[in-house]
Subunit: 106 residues, 2 copies
DNA sequence: CTGTTAGTTCGATTATAGTCGAACTAACGG
DNA sequence: CCGTTAGTTCGACTATAATCGAACTAACAG
């Protein structure tokens, strides 16, 4: 059973987090996960080809934003909220709040 | 006297802000401005050619992070803290706090 | 074993960004 | 007017990232 690399909280880099979240599609994924987790990739695809979605999930994983666990056939994704909070207190909450301030609904 | 375009607070986009701040050089500029403003570009150059620095300042300006005012020969830059706060409350503070948590000093 | 599902990996293409030197410009001092 | 300073703009090059189809893989159902 294949598993994924997830950086340690202490190795998360602010620039990588901000970069990962600066893409509207990836930010939307994070918002949806914040609202409902864990979730597999499929319902978050939003009409894109699987290879593109997989790429975006990999960026989120490498930044440390999400954790992906293989559960049977699906790969369940969840936000690493506590670890993010321990590394950068208040950051994720502030960004999610900013995202909900923007006109676009989740 | 040449002036610059600065987006209105209501037109600032989260993805542009995060993108602008995801570059370590630009984040450093913002941190230095937060510590001491207004400042001209020159002391923030950090050994780069002027054209590169000018490019990074333009990115920060277009995102809405900084305001540049022409004052005589120099261009004075300041953080648009209040406008950012009105658009995305707590966001800039959280990112600056996260930056100071990272090992690198200003 | 076969088929299916969910997602990854590969490879090619395209688009976007960063970098830098060189030429330019606006404001000032003398 | 001339030189200097501070920063922009231009254009070329390079590097990084997004996109997508196609082939692949792991886990499960039957």
């Amino acid at each position: 059973m294949k598993q994924y690399d997830h950086p340690l909280a202490q190795d998360m880099q602010l620039s990588c987090l901000l970069y990962a979240l600066s893409d509207p599609f990836r930010l939307t994924v994070v918002r949806k996960l914040a609202a409902c987790q864990p979730q597999p990739c499929a319902p978050l695809q939003d009409g894109r080809p699987k290879s593109s979605v997989s790429h975006h999930f990999a960026v989120l994983r490498k930044a440390g934003l999400i954790r992906t666990e293989v559960v049977g056939v699906t790969h369940m994704n969840s936000l690493r909220e506590q670890e993010l909070e321990s590394r950068f207190p208040g950051l994720l909450a502030a960004i999610l709040a900013a995202a909900s301030v923007e006109d676009v609904p989740v």
